[in-house]
């Protein structure tokens, strides 16, 4: 006998649990099937625990600069065990919070792996054995993704590691080579470098943080290099030879091979969707390059089966998954929501310096045929940034010269990840430069640089 629900969500990450709670708010009877941790990768092995680690890195940075602020300290010691334990504690606390939220919303949680059985049925398996059979007219797949493996450079968990292992180091490696310079790569680079590890980043494309605006990438790169990182772009890892205590990594840069001997290698070269073992084989669900093909409401080729989040394709961001979940559920409930769109999804990287952006880069805006106006404002012109001792940073805004639409905003520097939402709201409300210029920004804040960047796009910046 199957347990009947209005909606089953497979996967309890930021896509799945948010979808479940939204559905419960809409009076649906909801089940969540989760095999590992509620909160998913984001909360347990991604966004959140890395922020805890990076907070420790930030404290370390402050300690390194104490004299500037009028302090001196001696005999400062790094306790890596405690740093990691704090990070794990944060995840544990929040994962427990999700369990509580689901309970509060009367969502039933099944511990196990979900597998589509056809006709709205879903089997829950634990340790290879079926433990429950569920039924619902609507099933949302939110099984997420896992690190992509490069043949010959597979993660072994010891010398070549993924974000899982990189998050819980037992000892601080003396040297690290990081493959990939997306958000995950540079965040770990930042963390380990702050604690004193020799860090080398290898990026295949011609610049780091390749999805960001080229100017912002360049500023971030300079800052990382100033901190002592070695950065190789347009570079490909050819092979890795493992020795007893080190890995010899051969990298091809500009047609020449260089060999780096490092203690560990972090592989951060993207992800693949978890499309296996969930019963897609006997359905009309279409899978392309490890991601499920969906429409703007998360609908797959199979009626009654939906997919959201990392499983449904890029950008691979928790907030994208959550929003997709809400749109999917509201469409199921017949609320007629607007379809999910990707034009206004902000992206944040919590390295030192932070990077945050939304919308089109300068290059993409030109490529799309826009005649543009570009505003720039450096942190050195902002009083608060200087007072904080954070004078390095830039806010770049890109407007459509004709309509005044804010096409994109790109920020690098302290606290920018907390500020980007100002531009995201502006874009969602379809403001033009005029409303932004007329908005009063509080003084003294770094956010004033956001205002100045807008003014600068129209030749009106005051403080630069």
């Amino acid at each position: 006998m199957a347990d009947n629900f209005d909606l089953i969500v497979v996967g309890g990450g930021p896509g799945g649990y948010v979808a479940a709670i939204r559905a419960a708010q809409l009076k649906m009877k909801v089940a969540v099937v989760e095999a590992k941790h509620l909160g998913g990768i984001c909360l347990n092995w991604g966004c959140i625990p890395t922020k805890a680690l990076l907070r420790s890195a930030e404290v370390k940075h402050m300690l390194d600069h104490l004299p500037e602020f009028g302090f001196s300290a001696e005999n400062v010691k790094v306790d890596l065990g405690k740093i990691v334990a704090r990070s794990r504690g944060v995840s544990k606390q929040l994962s427990g919070g999700i369990a509580h939220l689901l309970k509060k919303n009367k969502v039933t949680v099944y511990d196990g792996y979900g597998r589509l059985m056809g006709g709205g049925n879903l089997a829950v398996n634990r340790d290879g054995k079926p433990v429950a059979m569920l039924h619902a007219p609507h099933i949302i797949l939110a099984t997420g993704a896992r690190p992509r493996q490069i043949p010959g450079l597979e993660v072994d968990g010891k010398q070549i590691i993924s974000y899982f292992e990189a998050m819980v180091p037992e000892t601080l490696p003396k040297s690290l080579l990081i493959m990939g310079s997306g958000a995950i790569g540079v965040e770990f680079a930042s963390f380990y470098r702050a604690l004193g590890t020799e860090v080398t980043i290898v990026e295949m494309l011609d610049r780091i943080l390749p999805v960001e605006d080229a100017e912002i990438s360049g500023i971030a790169r300079k800052s990382f290099e100033k901190q002592g990182m070695k950065i190789l772009t347009s570079a490909v890892v050819k092979k890795a030879e493992k020795g007893p205590a080190s890995v010899k990594v051969t990298v091809e840069v500009g047609g020449k091979e260089q060999v780096f001997e490092v203690e560990k290698v972090i592989s951060a070269v993207g992800i693949v969707g978890n499309v296996e073992n969930i019963g897609l084989e006997d359905t009309k669900v279409k899978v392309e390059r490890t991601h499920v093909v969906v429409d703007g409401f998360g609908r797959t080729g199979e009626p009654g089966v939906y997919a959201i989040g990392d499983l449904a394709g890029p950008p691979w961001l928790a907030h994208k998954a959550s929003h997709e979940g809400v749109v999917c559920v509201e469409a199921i409930a017949g609320l007629n929501p607007h379809p999910f769109e990707t034009w206004n999804i902000p992206g944040c990287t919590y390295a030192r310096p932070q990077v945050a952006s939304v919308g089109l880069t300068e290059a993409k805006a030109k490529e799309a045929g826009h005649e543009i106006r570009v505003g720039r404002f450096p942190f050195i012109g902002n009083g608060k940034a200087i007072a904080l001792g954070e004078p390095e940073g830039l806010i770049k805004t890109i407007f459509d010269a004709k309509t005044g639409a804010l096409l994109g905003a790109h920020m690098v520097g302290a606290e920018v990840t907390e500020m980007i939402q100002g531009y995201v709201i502006a874009r969602q409300l379809e403001t033009t430069e005029e409303e932004l210029m007329h908005t009063i920004f509080p003084h003294p804040t770094i956010s004033e640089a956001m205002h100045e960047s807008v003014l600068d796009a129209y030749g009106r910046a005051i403080h630069f």
Partner: protein, 425 residues
């Protein structure tokens, strides 16, 4: 305790309306469900029913006032008769319509007129600017943002949801708009000195003027005319009408127009490309065959819709049309009964018009103009014989429908009408 009575939104696109008539007066007792007033929108007259009970304390908008913004306070309801109203009523939940973002702040009782003439179209700043640059009148655009707010996407003529034909999408792709600094100047009003009488434009007249001007100016029309013999259709009609019960629910009296509606329904089903709308991103083909029928009413016209015309039986079409026509003339159609449709028919045959060309009813892509059935000489073989013939002219939006498709549609229609038994297949 005073309650504000607000101007209701009778359709999702309504932003203002005319307060045509008060049926309750100051001091009258009001019970829930009582009709308080009649509101004239762009196309219909609707009744405003009371939700709360009490007494009409004050009428703020006199009857006959035009351009009353949705959610403006039109009257104040008090709990007891003659209750003092020196202070404006506290903003209360709108008693009539579903809550919509408040369009105008509730006005103090002392200054009702300013509110009555206030009007606000909700649109994003970017949408406002693009509309200004492209010379688009925002009042003609249906908003799909929160609370019906007009957003940029609505101007591109690419609605995210199925378009509601009552709102005319932006006429031209925004990219092709004229130079930004030079919005189209409005033509100066001609100075008329000859003795004359001024007939103020009704809301409906303004909508007709605006929508049809936009259609003729922005939709690339072309016209296809076909002559169709009606004799067999007239025979079938007489035969069927003779079989109708005298009265009772099963009674019917088919008109030629009813048969033409049915034939168009079947022809549209066979040529779905004609049952379609233009948007910048895609041609939208409608799943259902819903036909708008132009009906003349005092001071204008309205297009009630026969829904599922391909599937309805002739008696059902006939009775539906009679009901819609009667209620259209009485101004009692509900918005959903005249908003929508994928194709239009305009028939002036009853006035003896031989043939004419109609203006497309946007966002539809075609309209059929039907002339009178006339006895005309027809060449059959080598002989000239008399036959009852009507001319029908299809006006076509060339962006959606090319000549060949339009011609194929008319050929199908001609075949169906000339061999009307095939309608029964």
């Amino acid at each position: 305790m005073a309650i504000n009575i607000l101007m209701p939104a009778l359709s999702p696109t309504m932003t203002e309306g005319k307060l045509a008539k008060w049926l309750k007066h100051e001091g009258d007792e009001v019970k829930s469900g009582d009709v308080l007033a009649e509101i004239e929108t762009d196309k219909a007259t609707m009744e405003v029913e009371a939700v709360d009970e009490g007494f009409i304390g004050k009428i703020l908008v006199p009857e006959g006032t035009e351009g009353v913004a949705v959610n403006a306070v039109i009257a104040i309801l008090t709990a007891t008769k003659g209750e003092a109203l020196d202070a404006p009523a506290a903003p209360a939940p709108a008693p009539v319509a579903a809550p919509v973002p408040v369009a105008a702040a509730p006005a103090p009782a002392a200054a009702p007129v300013a509110v009555a003439h206030g009007e606000r179209v909700f649109a994003s700043p970017l949408a406002k600017r693009i509309a200004k640059q492209a010379g688009i009148d925002l009042a003609s655009v249906k908003g799909t943002g929160p609370g019906g707010r007009i957003v940029k996407a609505d101007l591109a003529g690419a609605p995210a949801h199925a378009p509601a034909p009552v709102a005319v999408a932006a006429p031209a792709p925004v990219a092709a708009a004229p130079a930004p600094a030079a919005p189209k100047p409005a033509a100066p009003a001609p100075v008329i000195t000859a003795p004359h009488t001024k007939l103020p434009n009704s809301t409906m007249r303004k909508v007709i003027a605006k929508r049809l001007s936009e259609s003729k100016q922005t939709v690339p029309h072309f016209y296809l005319t076909v002559n169709i013999e009606l004799d067999k259709l007239l025979e079938l009609r007489a035969e069927l009408n003779a079989k109708s019960p005298k009265d009772g629910p099963g009674a019917f009296k088919l008109s030629v127009n009813d048969l033409i509606i049915k034939a168009c329904g079947v022809a549209l089903k066979r040529h779905p490309g004609v049952n379609a709308s233009w948007t910048d991103e895609a041609i939208i083909q409608y799943d259902e065959v819903d036909i708008s029928i132009a009906v003349a009413i005092p001071d204008g016209l309205i297009t009630p819709i026969v829904k599922g015309a391909d599937r309805l039986g002739l008696a059902a079409i006939s009775n539906t049309m009679k009901d819609l026509g009667a209620r259209a003339k009485a101004g009692k159609l509900k918005p959903e009964e005249f908003q929508g449709g994928g194709f239009s028919i305009s028939n002036l045959g009853m006035f003896g018009i031989s043939e004419f060309s109609a203006i497309i009813n946007p966002p539809q892509a075609a309209i059929l103009a039907v002339g009178a059935g006339e006895r005309r000489p027809v060449v059959k073989g080598d002989a000239i014989v008399p036959a009852t013939v009507m001319s029908a002219t299809l006006s076509v939006d060339h962006r959606v429908i090319d000549g060949a498709l339009g011609a194929q549609f008319l050929a199908t229609l001609k075949g169906l009408i000339e061999e009307p038994l095939s309608l029964l297949l």
